[in-house]
Subunit: 344 residues, 3 copies
């Protein structure tokens, strides 16, 4: 959906320097952009690329010039780029209704403007809000409630009674509400504890492909508004994740842990069960929290250390064999010296 | 399904102190339980909560009193809680047969009391036992054999020829029998080795959401009776896992390894290929076994250490940069002292 | 599909010693093979098993003898085994067309010889080449292009516009083209960056069960010809993986990283974002590359070290608490000695 540059400037609240009627067709990376494209520079180290850039226009931060290019000057060029890209994509497809080959229970209550693709399955008493799209292979179990303008990609599964807010996105094969991992040892083996709670995904949550948010044993597992999970992430039963947090791929939060707001968990990081993590905590890739973490910290490693301390520790690790050798040499030299001193 | 307290006492073999005719509707956590609910105290540190507990009844261990509450006194309150919760849930839905929208091959042999939901697919010559439930989106390939009273959740996949015992549970998108990861280097690249073996899941096995148990190259991959896998767990081809073992989320067992009985693998832990792990081994979260492990041990870390030794090592790690500095200072001081002594 | 030994010798270019007309029915492991079977010895340490082997024939390397057994002598017995196993399996089932219960858009362009099983869904304008098989529950979104002789297992998902070469294999629930994990911080929370790029899987790529290859934000994410991904592997948006590389289960490559050819990534290993890894790099299980890696190296650990150096470091780690104690003792002894010397 092409747009005039002045339209895009208005959209993002940018100053426009250049031709307001220039028609923009695409957003493209600075290296590959051609005539008709808009590009952006968010990182100052790429500013030099503007000299050879073939784009018709560029989004830049205040104070940047680019002779010969039309400019949109925005306080946050990266955010401006995201908003323009969204706009040029056009609105999501409008409600196609329940398409042939979709399997929807009679008792399900679907807003008129939903789209249910062929091969999607909707169970008894499910409620789905306006504008929501279910791709093929989506399965929604009985009694689940899904808000408006949600996007459930192919193979995403929402189990019984779980509740999704509005504008929730499930990437393909995301699993919401599988049984939590709860078993009572009965001597010989394990007796399954029924998992009768639910999952609540608040508004604007996104769950990555093949990520799993387990239903609570009793009560709820809850992901706060605006929180985003990458692919292959695990959230255990009865966990609570605060608002606007980020969990990168292959990270895992064990059962009953409570994570604060504005937290970030790096790839393959982990949080043990029954742990509390404060607000504004960042745990680096492969970091592991085995106990509570106070708010407002950047930590890495297992055990967790302040990130800079962890970096120092990491850089020292390779010296370990040499340190051991030196230690033994020192010991020997000291012993010799002790003898020498005592002989005197 | 409400029940009288005496009925529950009989179910779990508990002593009842209080009103045997009290009707119990729900099991609820001690903090949230209301009149009509039963709760439990399994961990002595929560006993003080009994004073303000609003439940009508509570399951406790012998020797515990709770004035004003009806008591079920059980040797293992946690197990008793699980059994009562299961009972109050009522029996699983009875056999609904092959529902409209299910796709079942003519040659498949299904017991009368199975349930095949809309959108489930059953291939040629598949056998399914009594009481088994296939949710929407389940796919069972040709020649697979599934026992009785199994529960296959949405999107679970059982590939050709694999065999499930009875009471097996597959959480959503569990994948049983994908090709093992086997390739023969042919100089330039890799030649795929056909994976013509199967997977056997014995009775009472549970496989978590998005967990993968690969088929054997030749022969079988086998998960022993009663063993439970959490979500996102990987089991390589030709692995054998003993009975009553537990694999927590995001752990992985590489190909051809043999794991004993009553083992526990923590989250994100791993076992290398062609390794033997004895019975009653616990490997802590993110532990990694690169070689064989003798039975009856609790180990952590990479390399694996006895858990307490690993804890000590972990607590020392942050001191590493300081240790290096001290070592260099000692070296300098010692050299100076050596000079001093030799000069004298 | 049984075959005469001479036929198999010709297939793999092996020297035959024994009965050329012997009919071979199966390939079986050396311990379990019976009359009518062929087995193989690729690892010299198993040669002693030939003495009690019940197989009718065995594939061996040049220079090996096995009295009483028919021999196929091949330079690479493991590769020969794989080729014979493939041959005895017979060709893949021939094109069954669009089967009843499959849901294929009218605008999709399918070669005559494809197979689309019941419950598979093919979107608008999709193109699928000759001989390709889509199992039940496969979902191919609009505008995707799939080459010839591909095998898409149940629940595999290919999102809009993605392109698969020929002979690509997707194991069950593999997800190709989910949105990359891209968000622009907007002060309070995160604004989703539309992911408008695609994924390209070149010829002969295999993607494991529940593995995820994310679509690019702009441009493409690309997996090179012949590269194989195991299960539960994550490939971030805009990553590029070279040809003939191997990624073992639960490994992850973050966004925008470029991986060379002939690389191997062990289980649970990881590569950070925006990193370049040269050709012929092997990163051991759970290794982590946080920066660029020069070609032709075998590395392990986090931080990455040459594998042998990492092994030494690992073996020293358990000594760390003891080292700290010794260091403190040395410090004390040195201080005492210093006093002693200075007093003199």
């Amino acid at each position: 959906m092409p747009a005039a540059l002045k339209q895009l400037a208005e959209l993002i609240g940018a100053d426009l320097r250049g031709n307001p009627d220039l028609v923009i067709h695409r957003v493209y990376p600075i290296d590959q952009a051609q005539a008709g494209d808009i590009t952006f520079v968010a990182n100052p180290k790429y500013l030099s690329k503007l000299e050879t850039c073939q784009a018709s226009a560029v989004i830049v931060a205040p104070g940047v010039d680019a002779p010969g290019l039309n400019l949109l000057i925005a306080a946050n060029p990266y955010l401006a780029f995201a908003k323009i890209l969204t706009f040029l994509q056009g609105p999501a497809e409008s409600g196609k209704g329940v398409m042939p080959g979709a399997l929807v229970a009679d008792s399900a209550d679907l807003a008129d403007s939903v789209t249910v693709y062929p091969g999607a399955v909707v169970g008894e008493n499910v409620k789905i809000g306006a504008g929501t799209i279910l791709h093929p292979g989506v399965v929604v179990y009985a009694d689940a409630v899904i808000g408006s303008d949600c996007l459930l990609h192919a193979g995403a599964i929402v189990r019984e009674g779980c509740r999704l807010g509005s504008r929730v996105i499930l990437q393909p094969a995301a699993v919401i509400g599988a049984d939590g991992f709860g078993f009572a040892p009965d001597g010989a083996g394990y007796y399954k504890i029924p998992q009768v709670g639910i999952v609540v995904l608040e508004d604007d949550v996104e769950i990555g492909a093949c990520s799993c948010v387990d239903r609570a044993a009793l009560g709820e597992t809850r992901i706060g508004r605006g929180t985003k999970l990458d692919n292959l992430v695990q959230i255990g039963h009865n966990a609570e994740i605060g608002e606007d947090s980020i969990l990168v791929s292959q990270s895992g939060i064990a059962g009953s842990s409570r994570i604060g707001r504005h937290c970030t968990f790096g790839g393959q990081s982990a949080v043990a069960g029954h742990v509390t993590i404060g607000d504004n905590v960042t745990i680096g890739a492969r970091g592991g929290a085995s106990g509570n973490v106070e708010p407002n910290q950047v930590l890495s490693g297992l055990p967790l250390l302040p990130h800079k301390q962890w970096l120092r520790m990491s850089m020292t690790l390779p010296k370990l064999p040499e340190m051991r050798k030196e230690l033994q040499q020192l010991k020997k030299r000291l012993a010799e010296l002790e003898v020498l001193v005592k002989e005197n």
